[in-house]
């Protein structure tokens, strides 16, 4: 079967700084991939390249088998890919994204936030968009907040609305960019649960997170990024429990520095 997403030799530079140094990745339908790594390792950039919020400097991205962008030969004789805004708009409708800081539209009610994409971009009718929005708000357990403004909601609730907003586009793949990093610790759980539910329903996802326990429980595959490359990849057990690479071990040790002893009866 055709993978939902295939990335080949992806490079991304900001000026002279090369953040991604050749990433290869295949994501099949229904798979959940979790990216971990220290800040600056390139995991967010990789995620942002998938929906072209950042344009790749080099490499190929296939979405549902379609190679994105068009080839253009450069003066230097090399070829490079160029991306036209109109194509990118279409691609982005198929890729849902949830941001660290939610980025809800503060001037719109919750329902309008979720309706906005289907209505403005997919151009479905007002009534249909409203039904669809309610359906996805229901899914994240916030249908009763549909008439509130985002500012009246807790961080966790706002993030769940943001998830509903992305889902309402009925995307082929969902991207989560540190979706719980901006939340109070006690609000993290509700958002992680919502994401886990999506996984159980078979949504294809790429998740960037610092929640290692969560990564372990939802991932089909874990990628540890280091210096813009996939340093180690495998199942949660392979990467998180029995890592082979020294750098991975150090990273995980940093995350597990303090542990509460298990209570024994």
């Amino acid at each position: 079967m055709e993978p939902i997403l295939k990335i080949e030799d992806l490079h991304k530079s900001f000026g002279r700084l090369e953040v991604l140094k050749g990433i290869d990745l295949t994501v099949n339908k229904g798979e959940t991939i979790v990216l971990i790594g220290s800040s600056g390792s390139g995991k967010s950039t990789l995620l942002r390249c998938v929906n072209f919020l950042e344009l790749p400097s080099q490499g190929c991205i296939y979405l549902k088998g379609i190679l994105q962008g068009t080839e253009k030969s450069m003066k230097s004789g090399k070829t490079n890919r160029v991306y036209h805004e109109s194509q990118l708009c279409k691609v982005r409708t198929q890729v849902g994204m949830v941001f660290q800081h939610f980025n809800l539209f503060p001037h719109m009610k919750v329902l309008e936030n979720v309706m906005e994409g289907p209505k403005t971009v997919l151009r479905i009718s007002q009534k249909e968009a409203e039904q669809r929005a309610l359906q996805y708000l229901e899914k994240v357990g916030l249908a009763d907040k549909s008439q509130s403004y985002p500012a009246r909601l807790s961080g966790g609730q706002q993030q769940r609305v943001a998830i509903a907003r992305a889902l309402a586009m009925e995307p082929d793949i969902m991207l989560f960019d540190e979706a719980t990093s901006a939340l109070d610790p006690e609000l993290v759980g509700e958002v992680l649960l919502a994401i886990k539910e999506l996984r159980d329903e078979g949504m294809t996802m790429i998740i960037v997170t610092h929640e290692i326990g969560f990564a372990y429980s939802v991932a089909d595959k874990i990628l540890f990024l280091h210096h813009g490359k996939i340093h180690e990849a495998g199942t949660p057990d392979e990467v998180l429990v029995r890592p082979k690479e020294q750098r991975t071990k150090e990273f995980l040790a940093g995350h597990n520095q303090f542990q509460i002893p298990q209570h024994s009866e």
Binding site: C89, R92, F99, F105, H107, G117
Partner: protein
């Protein structure tokens, strides 16, 4: 002791009335045109593309860094020679004040747009919105409500600046007053009344700005 006599001013109320109407007409027309074109220039200035950005920036810098009075004089005395046509006082005043309003309001628009967090653009973009849709649906509705105090302020300033049109003999309030005072030699009464009229016209605007600013702070 000066003998105040407002009788002459009041008996010439129609002369001042025409002036008041002209003042309001000029200010209103300049405000509406200036704000709408200011939005376009502001968006062009915000644009990353040089073909939009550069001309808009040059326009803004020219009109922001020259006195309005010079602009009005230029449109009245210089432009007709260049174009080989007549330009009446109203048109020259309208051009000068409107260009100035465009320049200043485009800066307000640009500042307002810039004040919106980049995440808002990205959220729109991630839904597949075009640049125009992001601007229309996400950015401007938020930016404009933040800009309302600044625009009201601009409106107040504009009403004051219309008096500059008196130097090219456009019959706005101040010019009409000058006519009365030259005929009757009563500058004290005439200009006092004119000042009062302006105060009544402008003060509500100032109060409104203060109220809007207070609300914006909350």
């Amino acid at each position: 002791m000066y003998n105040w006599d407002f009788g002459i001013v009041f008996s010439n109320w129609n002369v001042l009335g025409i002036g008041l109407l002209n003042t309001i007409k000029l200010a209103a027309l300049c405000l509406v045109t200036g704000l709408s074109l200011g939005l376009l220039v502001g968006i062009a200035r915000y644009s990353k593309r040089k073909i939009f950005n550069w001309p808009a920036s040059i326009f803004v810098e020219v009109f922001r860094n020259t006195p309005v009075l010079v602009q009005i004089m230029w449109f009245f005395f210089a432009l007709p020679i260049l174009l080989q046509t007549q330009i009446n006082a109203f048109s020259a005043a309208f051009l000068g004040l409107t260009m100035n309003t465009i320049a200043f309001s485009s800066e307000i628009f640009r500042g307002g747009i810039q004040s919106i967090a980049p995440g808002q653009w990205e959220a729109g973009k991630a839904l597949g919105m075009t640049y125009v849709q992001q601007m229309q649906r996400v950015i401007l509705p938020q930016a404009i409500s933040r800009m309302i105090p600044a625009f009201t302020n601009r409106g107040v300033e504009l009403v004051k600046m219309t008096t500059l049109a008196s130097v090219i003999a456009f019959g706005e309030l101040l010019h009409q007053a000058k006519t009365i005072s030259t005929i009757y030699f009563n500058p004290i009464e005439t200009y006092t009344v004119v000042a009062l009229i302006f105060f009544v016209l402008i003060y509500p605007g100032t109060l409104l700005v203060r109220k809007l600013e207070k609300r914006a702070d909350q």
